[in-house]
Assembly symmetry: C2
């Protein structure tokens, strides 16, 4: 695992900063990702598929407290014109102390290093305020997100 930095406590945080580490590695153990996702109620997926999806992502950020993954996000895209952020998740016991900010800042910094002009995401209800802090806006010029789930 490549560790690219040590977490710095956000200026406005009221909570003590845990000793968190940041990783941009894609070769994460699927179980670690699944364990984090399960902590927020997401369903488990086939480990080999998780590894393949991570490897095919253009950027992956995970945040760790010792050997426990406490935050995660990834992005897909063409590495040129656009990227789409998926699976932004923070372990419940680490929420509201800046881990989500940290994950998003790390991911956006990596995407910006590729000079990708457009970054998109699909925000769950009630989360758009969080993403607006990073410059995201909802439905610009009337553009609407659409979804098709395979039966």
């Amino acid at each position: 695992m490549v560790l690219s930095g040590i977490w710095k406590r956000p200026e406005n945080s009221k909570d003590p900063p845990p000793d968190l580490r940041i990783s941009h590695a894609k070769d994460l153990e699927p179980d670690a990702v699944q364990d984090l996702c399960a902590s927020v109620g997401w369903s488990r997926r086939e480990p080999l598929l998780v590894s393949k999806a991570l490897n095919n992502s253009v950027a992956v950020v995970s945040v760790w407290d010792k050997d426990v993954m406490v935050g995660f996000a990834r992005a897909t895209g063409d590495m040129v014109f656009n990227a789409t952020i998926w699976d932004v998740v923070v372990r419940p016991s680490y929420q509201r102390c800046g881990v989500g900010l940290l994950v998003m800042r790390e991911l956006l910094t990596e995407l910006d290093s590729f000079d990708i002009p457009l970054v998109t995401l699909y925000a769950d209800p009630g989360t758009d305020g969080f993403y607006k802090r990073f410059g995201f806006c909802t439905d610009p010029s009337g553009v609407r997100g659409m979804f098709r789930e395979k039966l």
Copy 2:
């Protein structure tokens, strides 16, 4: 260029079917893509970046009338859990005769062949009715598309 099929006239088409060919090749000439995009008013991009973006897409469909590209779409994604469709475009003189349907069907068939459960896109105003024909729905469960353009 790999040609995967010959266009069949849609049942409800009122226009004579041109002799169209379908390609799933990624190694398209950037000028051909740019020429099509310029026909609908999109700005030109650096050819090397266009090639890189095509190569990094998970699926690319183009439709040709002889040596003229008349329809195009591509998708990015992780090849496992999700894909996002971009740049759906039909040359104006070929609009309203089934080329858009053809492009979308070819692209979705390719994505479905990978068993990707979720396909998303961002629909320009007034185009959501077109995408609903393929099973896309807008803002399911209140999920909203968000965009961040790099300054």
